[in-house]
Symmetry: C2
Subunit: 417 residues, 2 copies
């Protein structure tokens, strides 16, 4: 197979489908999503047997238990894919929304209309449910999608692709609205990210290595986050109960997620009071503590090095630094944060205003756990990823992040004098 | 001079200044802008004598009359730079604007806050007034700026930089908030576009060649447009008076601008009536017409080739195509438009709705001249450029295009259950 020619064909077909999708009604798009949900439920046995081939290959290739777990399609996984499709069908259609229409002195009327981006390329690793989530979000937002899943999930993804096709057909939408790349040749990824004439944006979902490779090579915009080095800062004026509650939740609610706290900053005036209590609570959860010198003078902790401040542990490990005040806290954040999510615990309004204005992260919080940084918690209804870039979409990305706004102008034979 | 080390220093200083600018009050920013305006007026003689050196060098180097004209700083140019600064001072400060705050079932309150992008790099050609415009727009939007003008305007730009410094100093803002690159070494551009750690976005202003080179080499996002191949389509249901008025204005109001019409599409049912009238009007302005076969059966015109449909003339030349209907018009636009601005002339509501929804350009118009695609006409107050990309800023880019939105979350010791 000539991978370049194959990917070019997918690109041409996607571009053409995107022109049909911009005309598709909300009713047609929802009908397709609901038909996909039914198709998935009706194909449960088929999905599981195809998935079993991937699992067998995975075992033979020595995938570890966590990877096999992510790869598995279970009955509850099938139910949740179908439920996800129905939820996305129930969300408001963002396309065509017109805002800010106003008259100008020249007599023209000007506003903005929300429109699809066009063609979205999604590159992901083992989880086959991403095939359904990504297809659904792209379709609802009027975008054609080209999906490239991990080779370890090839049988599962093709079986899910068949359900997607059933849904598109039922609604009379082009079969090429969603295309799942069939070749497992890695060159296909290289082609997909370098076809600006056919693909408008790439969204990589997976480990940092994958995302870095794609960002380096892409010739179109990439919506991504690399790291989640999130901070909680306990301010001089923090309520200690809230501080302890949030600092505990932000670290221990889940470890392997990008919005978990990795570094706790504590104002010197608070350290004596809150650190011993928190240390006991973390100890019960077997969280390893790594502290600065001042921290280690108060509680028992390993030594934190420069590297710790710059590390996303994704594990039951926490680095702790005692700082003089909010200025030192914000300096530390400016130096080491990955721009994902930071939270301050304080009752002081002026300090709050400064922290909100000055901290340059996709989510900035007050008296709340960093774990809230999530599309569902924010009310987006669904999430295709989280962006730590400042361009286009920032923070959790839902349907709106898959759209653009163009200017529309209405006149009455209006000319420029 | 070690250009890499020099540019790195500018980058570090700009990043540091951007953290101070995010704290700057609206009053401080406006005070700086107003002081710059006064400084420019007070330095009129100095500006003209430095500009005279550039003009003398330009003549010696054989610059043509149009380029020398763009390079010249006249008394009226000085007045309009000062006026521009005062206008930008009078615009509403976009920074800190909080929108869409609402409560979620978890109890957190979530919204978005508008914040600066950080550091903006601007690369431009001969016009020295861009130094002032760009500095003012970046400063008002809370961004640090690194400005790299054309080497032919080096003396002028350094003289203007001195006025900018006077303004920053008067307001107590960091001198490094706006830095004008002093070296004329072209390697400085290569460095500026490849420092993602210091520069958040590049805005090139100039010819297509410059913009292509920068887009190819940039390692940060670029706000740009390459071409303005704008279309007017006279629909079956057009009002002929409006059609003629708009088609004439869109071509002849100014020729060398990106929002001028380059191709006129005419529905077959209208061609016999409108083309002869328009041909006479264009003839009076010495506009060369290049037409398809059907056009040439009605009026006298040279042959339009495939190349014509894909050319931005920026000159008194117009290509004309007779099409069957709005579908053929939209197909032609999808194939040849540069995504800048297209306008339909029609009285038909259903056709209007389709054209607005389906044409994928930064501005889509009805019964209005493409010449309206402009930041001032749209009410943005000022314009740093026009973007034909779908990401981030699309269409005329004013202060808002130089900002980003981050999520802010307020809780009360809120944790994720």
């Amino acid at each position: 197979m000539n991978v370049k020619a194959y990917m070019t064909t997918l690109g041409e077909q996607a571009r053409k489908a995107s022109r049909a999708l911009v005309r598709a009604t909300t009713q047609e798009k929802n009908a397709a999503l609901l038909a996909m949900a039914t198709a998935i439920e009706n194909s449960a046995e088929q999905l599981k047997s195809e998935n079993a081939k991937d699992l067998a290959n995975g075992k033979a290739n020595g995938l570890d238990a966590a990877m096999l777990d992510r790869l598995a399609i279970t009955d509850s996984g099938i139910a949740s894919m179908a439920e996800g499709l129905r939820q996305i069908a129930s969300l408001q259609d963002p396309i065509g929304e017109i805002s800010d229409m106003s008259y100008r002195p020249s007599g023209i009327q000007i506003g903005k209309m929300r429109v699809p981006l066009g063609v979205v390329g999604i590159i992901y690793e083992s989880r086959p449910n991403v095939t359904i989530d990504a297809a659904a979000l792209c379709l609802k937002s009027g975008n054609a999608a080209i999906l490239r899943g991990g080779s370890e999930a090839a049988y599962s993804n093709q079986a899910l692709a068949a359900c997607i096709q059933t849904g598109l057909k039922a609604a009379g939408l082009p079969a090429t609205s969603v295309q799942v790349v069939e070749t497992t040749d890695r060159a296909a990824v290289g082609e997909l990210i370098a076809m600006p004439q056919y693909v408008d944006v790439i969204i990589p979902r997976g480990g940092k290595g994958l995302i870095e490779r794609i960002s380096e090579g892409a010739r179109v915009p990439v919506i991504k986050h690399l790291d989640g080095i999130c901070h909680v800062y306990i301010d001089d004026d923090a309520d200690q109960d809230k501080a302890i509650k949030v600092a505990f939740n932000a670290k221990t609610h889940r470890y392997g997620v990008c919005n978990a706290m990795e570094t706790l900053l504590v104002a010197e005036s608070q350290a004596q009071a809150v650190l011993p209590i928190l240390a006991d609570m973390y100890a019960e959860k077997d969280v390893e503590l790594r502290g600065c010198e001042k921290t280690r003078a108060i509680i028992s902790a390993n030594v934190a090095t420069e590297t710790d401040w710059a590390t996303e542990y994704l594990a039951p490990i926490l680095s702790i630094k005692v700082v003089a005040d909010v200025n030192e806290a914000m300096d530390h954040i400016a130096e080491f944060s990955s721009g994902h999510t930071e939270s301050i615990i304080t009752e002081n309004l002026s300090t709050t205003r400064r922290f909100l204005a000055e901290v340059d992260s996709s989510s900035v919080m007050v008296n709340a756990s960093t774990r809230f940084a999530d599309g569902f918690e924010y009310g987006l209804g669904a999430e295709i990823g989280i962006s730590t870039d400042k361009f286009h979409a920032r923070g959790p990305v839902g349907l709106e992040g898959l759209t653009s706004q163009k200017y529309i102008v209405l006149g009455d034979g209006s000319i420029r004098e």
